[in-house]
Amino acid sequence: MEPTWGALAWQGLAAIVTLGIFSFLAGDNPFYKIIERTWVGVTTGYWLMLLYHTSFHDKVWVNIVVQHKWWYILPTFLGLLMWLRLSRKLAWISRYALAFYIGISTGIYIPLAFKNFVFLQLEGAVRPISFDAAGINFVIALVGLTCSLSYFFFSKPHTGILGGMSKAGILTLMIGFGAGFGLTVMGRVALLVQRVIFLRDYSVNLFGKIF
């Protein structure tokens, strides 16, 4: 189906923005600056309205005014304290809200970290060794895991046995990071190819429409 001029105009805008961002590869330039500032402005406006709908409307207005869940007044009050940062004299009061926010985040995170990053990992790692090829793989993984853990041991100098284990640990980590790097770069190249295909298709459509 032949694209309409309207569709081509929108695609053209997307193509210009894409090229504007790519122009950064040639260094900072006015074209990039225009696109960058416009993009930041658009997303700030978008985010502002999104926050209004998802935070103020859904969490404050609906809960307190519509559903009469009065206990939501407490977090709302803490949120309002943040606005006191705009006052030089009363800015210190906003620290209470910040302290509550950081404290509650940490309190929630630590038990979760124990569950997800310690117990579930341990559960997966503690298995019987079978005396076959899979068993050898498992032993290699187990040694790598133990050595990696020893790399993050800060209480002793990394010398002697601990030094050797730590070196083996960082080697294991780097092998893992290398695999992760390769995998992600492949994903990024796929994204680049997608943008290049978009630019190619757009130019084909545009020239097809004109000529």
Binding site: K33, R37, T38, V40, L98, P111
Partner: protein, 425 residues
């Protein structure tokens, strides 16, 4: 250039303001399905699942029910089971709502829903606390034919104050807290607690000195996480150290952030650091500034900032996502010395490849203790080390026990290990 930012801001606001109107217009438009005659009810061809029972889901906040049933005699012909719910057993057909699906062969289903309303309307699959909820189940085949209904079963969801399945987490937290308090007391009592040198952190002062000598600013990026992320909190500590040094050396510091609460936290951190350095007069609140809450516009702006301000040193400390390489690469091109630290496993490789020093995972958390040498920060680090030793011991002993099928009531276990080792030798 400010004009473009303002223009963009208005464009974004306008787009969001008219979005609800467009959505309302689209929802009011009749869909093609509305004009069709109602579909014929599916054919009831298969035998129903039986013995349906329902009970309160344990260890939850009171909005979950667990269902059990016996499979339909025609289970092999079915695709899945449909789980329907209502507020009473005698509810009319129209009041029953589809709560979920379970694949054929499944005998159990857990339904949890704590949203009493959806977009201002009552949620039909909400599980209220303290009120009975009724369920029934039927099978469905891939050709749309169905089985008969099971009997109706009901249960009342109740909240639990204590999650019995998390006792291990509680014990671990108590153990960590106890060890932390012990080490803090020991450090306060004058005991010297050793922390091994961390190369990335040792390079911080050198990097700040470089920026001072070059007369260029220092850029500190706290990542694209939230203000309460543990890595971001660790980032504040490093920021505090960097800010104190920049105050002493009178070097310019730039902290672009992507979250309003993070901006408040960073402003407090930098302000306190300047006060501690005895130079509150040098602190400029605008040195910590908000850019955008969205990832890639934020990156575009920070990359531009690096190029325009020609930052001598870039710090990346916090939670990073896909932007890590984009930032680090731009910093590398602009010739900055770069120190990074994150606990995001998938991003560490990019920082390792593109920055001069990287704090890998927990090294970032350790950085705060290493930099400050304060007992309050050294205590948790030492306690974590202790936990790591315990984990390693559990790991090794657990594998040995499972490999040789050892149990506490099996005195011959050790003999079996010795025999296996001798045999292997």
């Amino acid at each position: 250039m400010r004009a473009f930012r303002i223009l963009g801001l208005w464009f974004g606001l306008f787009a969001l303001l008219i979005a609800p109107a467009i959505q309302a217009a689209e929802t009011s438009r009749p869909s093609p399905a509305d004009s069709l005659s109602p579909a014929a009810p599916p054919a009831e061809r298969w035998r129903p699942p039986t013995a349906l029972s329902a009970e309160d889901q344990p260890n939850d906040n009171g909005h979950g029910i667990v269902l059990d049933w016996s499979l339909s005699a025609d289970d092999a012909q079915l695709l899945s089971y449909e789980i329907w719910m209502a507020r009473s057993a005698a509810a009319p057909e129209s009041a029953w709502a589809l709560a979920g699906f379970a694949l054929r062969g499944s005998r159990t289903y857990s339904h949890q829903n704590e949203e009493a309303s959806l977009k201002g309307k009552p949620n039909p699959i909400f599980v209220p606390r303290g009120t009975p909820t009724f369920f029934r189940v039927r099978g469905m085949a891939d050709d749309g034919s169905i089985s008969g209904w099971s009997d109706v079963a009901s249960a009342t969801a109740r909240g639990n104050w204590f999650h019995k399945g998390r006792i291990n987490v509680l014990l671990a937290c108590l153990g960590l807290a106890g060890a932390t308090l012990y080490f803090i007391r020991a450090a306060r009592g004058g005991r010297k607690l050793y922390i091994r040198p961390i190369p990335g952190i040792s390079a911080v002062d050198e990097a700040i000195g470089r920026a001072t000598e070059m007369g260029r600013p220092i850029l500190f990026v706290l990542g694209t996480g939230t203000a309460g992320d543990i890595a971001t909190i660790a980032g504040y500590t490093v920021l505090s150290r960097v800010a104190r040094k920049t105050a002493e050396y009178q070097t310019s510091l730039l902290v672009p952030v992507n979250e309003p609460v993070m901006m408040a936290m960073a402003q407090e951190t930098v302000s306190q650091a300047y006060k501690q350095a005895g130079r509150p007069d040098l602190y400029r609140p605008e040195s910590v500034f908000y850019i955008s809450a969205m990832q890639f516009p934020y990156v575009a702006a920070v990359n531009g900032l690096m190029m325009r301000e020609k930052t001598a040193t870039n710090f990346y400390m916090g939670v990073f996502h896909a932007e890590s390489l984009l930032l680090a690469e731009a910093g590398s091109v602009s010739g900055s010395i770069q120190i990074s630290g994150t606990d995001q496993l998938s991003q560490i490789p990019f920082f390792v490849a593109a920055t001069d020093y990287t704090l890998i995972g927990e090294e970032l958390y350790a950085a705060s203790a290493y930099l400050s040498q304060e007992p309050v920060l050294m205590g948790p680090l030492k306690a974590q080390d202790l936990i790591k030793v315990v984990i390693m011991a559990i790991l090794v002993l657990g594998v040995i026990a499972l490999t040789f099928s050892l149990t506490a009531s099996d005195p011959a276990g050790i003999a079996r290990i010795v025999s296996a080792v001798v045999h292997a030798v």
